[in-house]
Symmetry: C2
Subunit: 466 residues, 2 copies
């Protein structure tokens, strides 16, 4: 950054957002120094600005460009890749004041929201219209802007897709200080390059979303969750393609290995009604949720599902009703926190073709054993998205293990992250393992948006000298 005139820059920021919405020095709280990533060192930013409007956000970017100050965007700080970790010499733009649901449009099945809106707030507003924004990463305090940044997924992606499939349009501030609108309240367009899709998942390196048009789906009134313990993990993951092929269209299809389930049950004090002898003989669990607008059809489908699970090797099938079902799903959502609380040193989320899960998980076990590490977890089985808690205190050994796990995932036709993103945390692996021709192309795309390199430098790519 250009240090001369940083006082002038500070005044400029204050002029844009108002003195009360600019934090510097001691006033910058610890929360702004990190997201929830376990491995990226916190760093307090020099400035925190809280814009109230898209125009203020654009002005902030313009000022940052003129002063060559790096800019990081922050929603709720619940990301797992360190992409919201600011730079010590930088400006953090916190969207906490841009937190309004501007419109719930029931005819077009969309909502228009500001980036700081949390999923909990959006869920409440859409419920009133009988609709739902179906992107549900583990944390309901997550913001929609953060969803866009990381292309968040979550448990319902098996039926409804990830953020990419549920964001139809954006207003976005470019590093130049221009505001653009992309897409709209339509599910399709073939009118030039799809800037919406390019910005989604770019982890704050291309443009900052200042308004998001999200797709809503009818909220189906009837649901049930089935828990099926299996004697072995392979059986669980082998069952997944068959369940997808059944046409029962589950909106949740998760596997949980026995260590993770034990931790979840213990931490959340869950009672699942699974007898001790079944639990002791189980290596893994499948959790399948169905929903329907018709209760009779739901029950008929649960019956079919139960028979199918039995045929696929489940030791038994437990239909969880009401609170017990909700509790299990909530506990699964908190798997990250459970992993953290039992001492995981990292949490990763490789994605592979779902039919590759048995071979991939076998490979992971082999790699973990060889490195004297732990690698246990759960995952969005329907999507082939494997979430692993990594237990290895030694940074060099952990780094080597992660590298091998990521390489194995890519060799299986997958990629490093299904929904957490690369951020700072996995950049080194990304740059080492990804095709250099693609990295080079992505760098040039980055340059086409951000020639001065002010947006989240050091995320995805190494910081270039300015």
């Amino acid at each position: 950054m250009n240090d001369s005139g940083s006082g002038g820059f500070e005044q400029r920021l204050a002029d844009i957002v108002g003195q009360a919405n600019l934090l510097t020095g001691e006033a910058v709280g610890e929360d702004y120094a990190h997201d929830e990533c376990l491995t990226v060192e916190p760093a307090k930013p020099r400035y925190v600005a809280k814009p109230a409007t898209a125009e203020e956000t654009a002005e902030l970017l313009k000022a940052a460009g003129e002063h060559r100050v790096p800019v990081t965007a922050r929603g709720s700080g619940s990301g797992l890749s360190g992409a919201a970790r600011p730079r010590p010499d930088g400006l953090l733009i916190s969207f906490e004041r841009m937190n309004q649901v501007l419109e719930v449009d029931a005819d077009n099945h969309v909502a228009v929201v500001q980036p700081g809106v949390t999923l909990a707030e959006l869920d409440e507003k859409t419920a009133a219209a009988g609709l739902s924004y179906t992107v549900y990463p583990g944390e309901l305090s997550a913001s929609v802007g953060g969803n866009v940044g990381t292309n968040a997924g979550g448990m319902r992606a098996v039926k409804y897709g990830v953020t990419r499939h549920n964001v139809l349009g954006l207003q976005a501030a470019l590093p130049s200080g221009e505001l653009i609108r992309t897409g709209g309240k339509t599910t399709k367009t073939s009118t030039g390059y799809d800037l919406t899709q390019l910005i989604i998942g770019s982890e704050g390196t291309l443009a900052l979303a200042t308004e998001v048009i999200v797709r809503l789906h009818p909220r189906l009134p009837h649901g049930a969750t089935v828990l099926a313990p299996f004697g072995d993990l392979d059986q669980v993951v082998r069952a997944v393609p068959k369940i997808i092929a059944s046409g029962l269209d589950p909106h949740i299809l998760e596997y949980i290995d026995n260590l993770t389930m034990a931790a979840i049950v213990y931490k959340e004090q869950l009672s699942l009604g699974v007898p001790d002898e079944v639990r002791d003989a189980s290596q893994a669990y499948l959790v399948v949720s169905l929903e329907n607008r018709d209760n009779d059809r739901l029950h008929a489908d649960v019956e079919i599902l139960g028979e199918l699970l039995g045929a696929l090797g489940a030791a038994d099938v437990y239909v969880l009703e009401g609170p017990a079902a909700r509790k299990l799903i909530e506990a699964r959502e908190k798997a990250f926190w459970t992993a953290k609380s039992v001492g995981a040193d990292d949490v990763i989320d490789v994605v592979i073709p779902r039919a590759e899960m048995p071979a991939f998980l076998a490979k992971v076990r082999e790699l973990a054993t060889a490195s004297e590490s732990g690698a246990v977890g759960c995952g969005h089985a329907g999507d082939g998205n494997v979430h692993l808690g990594i237990f290895q205190k030694d940074p060099a050994k952990r780094r080597a293990l992660l590298h091998e796990i990521f390489a194995a995932g890519m060799a299986a036709g997958g990629s490093i992250s299904g929904e957490h993103g690369i951020g700072h945390a996995k950049k080194e692996h990304f740059l080492e393992l990804e095709d250099p021709a693609k990295i080079e192309l992505m760098r040039r795309i980055k340059q086409s948006f951000d020639p001065l390199g002010i947006l989240n430098p050091g995320v995805l790519f190494d910081q270039e000298s300015q």
Copy 2:
């Protein structure tokens, strides 16, 4: 292009694809001079090369770059924007020899195909596995590569989405002559910018798909089609959001205005069982198709749908069975050909938020009347994608009318094309009406892929001097 040494270039092309797969001069047939767009002048390319592999395709691009020869890609030539219309001094890469379904992977519900595979061929291959590639633009001779180029849609998009939602990965040749692989057999990834999504819909201006991983859905065995005549067009389009909200999840939801229906019935010699007095009193029709894995549920849903349509103002409801249903859907698919055969001067496909259809169609009628033109049609009502046949012989008047219709669509929150693309045909309107900041950004993205500007110059953007 650099004219010196074009003999050397020709030899180079022959070395790459083999003399038998290179056409020049008189050997270049008329078919290569155009796609199905009504308004873009045909032009025979100087060279037609038919690569057999991705590597040959990449080599062709490398050679074209070195010789500064413009390159246009062609699948089946069924596009409607002129994006496959080559340049007289250019190279046309025809994917007709790269027409293999490489794999139908039933566990991961994907197929891996070469770009020249037609939808008819893919449908046959996937049917054997009980699966379906659900992108169905009007023409089953269309190629998957062409789908990718234009982000094709079709009638089933209301349930299954457009090409963008059904292509999970690509192998693509870059203008540099490099081959990259993007995405994979997974429905999600958050690992760098989404190059798959950026290339889809780029109309052959960024990279050429040499292999496509498409998503497949279970092929549901039971289906029914309901035809509902309405006394007025507004009622039809007002009914659409209610049908979507019902949760009946139709896979086809089309409106057809009475002139278009008359032309379709006449051309296809259809007998729909609609009494003369109902037909004479009808201004428009809704066509709704439901599918289910269970026949009883299907019939129950058809009943609910019938009641809903009655409540929404349908004059009557006709359930079409088997051949009659298929015939109507096929006829609707051929609406473009019908429009062409009755003398339409252009066919456009503005997309708007579906709830805006009544106001938009009223505006279109007003604009058409004022310009003494005809504008009739049908459309993917569930998507807000309005297909209009434009009847106006005078090019200046037609141009002015189109400009106003596109502007009205954009003012209603939509865009110029929902699925046909911009190509050469609508470029002028695109450049006039679209936000200059977005055009500039798209130009820079184009440059990041194709610094020499060899890929389909003149499509989307005006040709720049080289």
